[in-house]
Symmetry: C2
Amino acid sequence: MPVFPDAIQSLVDELRKLPGIGPKSAQRLAFHLIVAGKPAINKLISSLEEARDRVGYCSVCGNLTESDPCPICQDSKRDRTLICVVGYPKDVLAIERAGGYRGLYHVLHGYIEPLKGVGPEDLRTKELLARLGPGSPVKEVILATNPDVDGETTALYLAKVLKPLEVRVTRLARGLPFGADLDYADEVTLARSLEGRREVT
Amino acid sequence: MPVFPDAIQSLVDELRKLPGIGPKSAQRLAFHLIVAGKPAINKLISSLEEARDRVGYCSVCGNLTESDPCPICQDSKRDRTLICVVGYPKDVLAIERAGGYRGLYHVLHGYIEPLKGVGPEDLRTKELLARLGPGSPVKEVILATNPDVDGETTALYLAKVLKPLEVRVTRLARGLPFGADLDYADEVTLARSLEGRREVT
C-alpha cells in the first residue's frame, strides 16, 4: 500500500531529475511545496512557463536571451573587436559578474569530449568561424574555457583552427586563485603559476 | 543591463525560495531546466499541477492524501487501538519505511515553538482529543515527536493533556542509534541510553 499519494511520488521523481537533488532533497522539496500551498506552487509553475515560452538562444553568440540578437550583441557600447569564447551560458554570467570585460561573447554549448562522443561539430564552432570571416571587426578571441581536461582540449582545438585567421588568440591567465594558500595549492596550479610568473613593476 | 533574461531571473528567484536551495543551486537548476528544453519543463510543470490539484490533507489523521480519509485511516487491517502522533507528514513516511508499525497516525503539522509564537492551538491537538473521545477504540497514544527541544516540549504538553483520559501514553525509546560508536556518542544520548537500559533476556 502506498504511504504517499502517487501525485507526490511523481513530483518527487521529477525533482530528482534535477542536478544535485538526491532522493531526500527531492522529498523535502515536494513536501515543502505541497505544504506551502497552491499560491506557492502556482508561482513556481508560472515562472517555469515563462522561462519555457520566453527564453531562447541568441542566433549570434548562442547565449540565453529573450530577444534575438541578445542585449549584449545588440549593445553598441560593447567592443566589437573582442570575442570571449565560453562553454556555457552560465560562464557569460560569471564573466559579466566579475566586471571589466566589455567585448562580445560566443557560447560553444559544451566542450569537446571524445569519450562522450562530443566532437567540434557538435559545438558552435562553425558559428564562431562565421563571425571571424572576411570583413569581421574581430581582432582578438579570448578562449575562456574551463581549466580542466575538456576545456583544455577544446581550447587547443580552437587555437589550431583559428591560427590561419588574422586574429589574436589568447587564454585566461592561470595561477593561484585570490585568497589561496601556497601550502594547499595543487602541483599543477603551482607549476603553472611559476611558469606564468610576471615581473613586479 | 541585465545579462540574463528576466524570465530566467524570476525562475531563479522562485527556485531560491525552496528549502536548501541557495543562489548558486537555484541558478544551476534554472539553467539545467532551460537547457533541458520544453519537454523536461512541461513534465515538471504537470507534476506540480497534479500535486497541487490532487493532494490534500486527511480529515482524520492530517496526513497528505489523494483520498479522504487517507488509505491508512481507511485500511481495516490497521490496528485501531494505536495512534502514533508525529510532527509532519514526512514522519509518517519514515515510520512506515521502518516497517513493523500497524496502527494509525495523527499528524500535528508542527511543534510547539513559543519563540515563533506557535502554541498548542496552532497544532492539530483538538483533532487528536476528538479521536480519543467517549467510545474511542484507542488504547495507546505513541508520542513520536522529534528528540529535540520543540519535540520534547510538544510531547510533554500532550502527555499532560492526555493524562486524564483512559489511554496509555508512550514515547519512542531513546538510546544509541544502530551502528553508533560509544566514543562518539554525545553525553545526552549516552546518559539516556544508560537510564533506559534493559535486562538482557
